[in-house]
Amino acid sequence: MDEVLLEVRDLKMHFPIYRGALFRKEVNRVKAVDGLNFDIIKGETLGLVGESGCGKSTTGRALIQLYKPTAGSVKFKGQELTTLTKRQIHPLRRNLQMIFQDPYASLNPRMTVGSIIGEPLKVHGLADGSNLMKKTQDLMDIVGLDPRFVRRYPHEFSGGQRQRIGIARALATNPDFIVCDEPISALDVSIQAQVINLLEDLQSEFDLTYLFIAHDLAAVRQISTRIAVMYLGNMVELTDGARLYERPMHPYTQALISAVPIPDPEVESTRERIVLSGDVPSPLHPPTGCVFHTRCPFAFEKCAQEVPTFKEAEPGHLVACHLVDEPKRRFEAPNAETDAQKRAAVAAMRKAWDIPAPTPQ
């Protein structure tokens, strides 16, 4: 049986907006994350994709309690995290680590690499004195940095090497779970593969579980066991990596996948793209019902009224979409802007539900 490492229920993370100086009054709230339900299995990499502002980074931070969630529950190995005080959570932090997106901003420029990597060891009382130096240098070696550079400063390293410093720091306390928040986005193409490979190696060597947050679907597919797709604070689809790409069921996932350019002119010249109209609505005033309905080619009346439940459309494939219960509507895309768009949208749906296209007479 798969062991659940993190169990997330109804997780909400709202950021209030206040007005007035003396009588501060909450006037509105940004619903960055608005009710998530999912598990993270021990040893897996759960990929979390979505566009900017969809709440994927907020989710990562709320999971390891860098933010105090507005509502909901996060259980780590069965232990509830959201009710713990700062002091209570401190010893748990060594098991819950994070790798940040920007290798330039996330390292203190006044600290040497050695003290950056060694700090978590000191904070958690895992090493001191000469032992600390040895452990720090071991960590540098593990992530592919020359241990002789232990006294150098971050600015002396390239972007890719800095990301290795960030990885070494996250590894220092021998954690169970690491949130990787866009760890490769700031790196050059030729360096990205190095970091992905390193993360994969470390995972098998140290038995790590990752939440891998990124907007690059191809990179996420490469590293992830399962992938979750977010849109405007909600999870819309969650399944294993291959299936999500082969048979995406949510109209948003379908559009997202079709929007990713493939580095092959032959493939590109024949692709039919689903181009979503408009922009992502503001999380201050999310649409009623299904948050995607304003841009969805398939949306019908119910979508604007009722929030779809996030449930299994088939074993191991969670989708939040009314089309799951409305098979007939899968082949009408009344809101598509053009006929070509309609064809592309319906073709994606047919593929997802494995229904052959009608043969022309």
């Binding site: 566009e51 050059d188 193409v189 593969a193 490469q222 092959d264 590109e268």
Partner: protein, 361 residues
């Protein structure tokens, strides 16, 4: 058949910068052609000189610290480098225009969009305010901005990122330029918005017959947008070819490396990505041989000493590599498996494990 005059032709262009650490050879002898109506993709990593090359074309290199020690930039046969500032101003923004990477910073936040759109029309076409207004609103409509006459008098911050990029595109196209230079036009955008913008650029190009130079690090974007591609590394072009041929049968080890290090969404999860080891060189020191040699599996003693001449592996296909023909004949493009590439790279490495006398003559 009469030879067509290229729209833009660069001949051995060099752009250097004086810095405290010495002279940075940002662009070090770049030559290429863009025919009328053609689209050229310029691919490279940060620091490869791909942007500086295009900024040089527009005459926007700050001098000092920059200077152009050599080369020609021929726009329809006229050398832009020899042109007076006044004459260049008549071309820039009129017959050649530019779309910048970051729509957040490249529009003036203090001026209404209307003012920024009317200005180029007044300067280059001598239109009166009303005519310019009408034309600009029409262009906004053409690039897909909803309710253009209402939005016309808004400020840039009132537009979303994707909409701002549309405004930029509208601005660039107002004077119906013959050549459009787009520097990472979609890098700052989300993937579904990127798809919208790329579709728009394709449509407009089809309608207006504009020549296009698209600069990007994203191989997927050029695969869909470019007719021909030049690959840059450390200030030089290492390979140039028609888009399909480049992907099918690269003739430079760096191109092979790029193709193999990028995960592809439409293929299953690779066992392991093949990264390009090492990192891009520092161009502030002169590099005697091939700049890629320290990272190249195929490199021989000669590669470290001498910059390779252009090798024409096939008519119209040029690679700057001492072993271009071998790489080309190995067929290591998108259809080659990872094992095949690794096998050839291993063979290449072994074949020069013992230093041999470099072949002269």
């Amino acid at each position: 058949m009469a030879e067509q005059i290229p729209l833009l032709e660069l001949k051995n262009l060099k752009t250097y910068f004086k810095t405290d650490e010495g002279i940075v050879r940002a662009v070090d002898g770049v030559s290429y052609q863009v025919m009328p109506g053609e689209s050229l993709g310029v691919v490279g990593e940060s620091g490869s000189g791909k942007s500086v090359t295009q900024i040089s074309v527009l005459g926007l290199i700050p001098q000092p610290p920059g200077f152009i020690p050599g080369g020609e930039i021929l726009f329809k046969g006229q050398d832009l480098l020899k042109m007076s500032k006044a004459d260049l101003r008549k071309i820039r923004g009129n017959r050649i225009s530019m779309i910048w990477q970051d729509p957040m910073t490249s529009l003036n936040p203090f001026l209404k969009v209307s003012r920024q759109l009317i200005e180029p029309l007044q300067i280059h076409q001598n239109l009166g305010t009303d005519d310019a207004r009408a034309k600009a609103i029409k262009m906004l409509e053409r690039v897909g901005i909803p309710a253009p006459s209402e939005r016309f008098d808004q400020y840039p911050h009132q537009f979303s990122g994707g909409m701002r990029q549309r405004v930029m595109i509208a601005m660039a196209l107002l004077n119906e330029p013959e050549l459009l230079i787009a520097d990472e036009p979609t890098t700052a955008l989300d993937v579904t918005i990127q798809a919208q913008i790329l579709e728009l650029m394709k449509d407009l190009r089809r309608d207006l017959g504009t020549g296009l130079i698209i600069i990007t690090h994203d191989l997927g974007v050029v695969a869909g947008m470019a007719d021909r591609i030049v690959v840059m590394y450390a200030g030089r072009i290492v390979e140039s070819a028609a888009a399909r041929e480049l992907f099918e049968r690269p003739a430079h080890p760096y191109t092979v490396g790029l193709l193999k290090s990028v995960p592809r969404l439409d293929r299953g999860r690779a066992e392991r990505l093949i990264p390009i080891e090492g990192r891009p060189p520092n161009v502030s020191k002169p590099i005697p041989g091939c700049a890629f040699a320290p990272r190249c599996a195929w490199a021989t003693a000669q590669c470290h000493k001498e910059w390779p001449p252009a090798v024409e592996v096939e008519p119209g296909r040029v690679s700057h590599c001492w072993r271009a023909t071998e790489v080309f004949e190995a067929e290591l493009g998108t259809h080659a498996t990872a094992e095949k590439v690794e096998k050839f790279e291993k063979q290449a490495r072994d074949s020069h494990a013992e230093p041999k006398e470099a072949h002269h003559g």
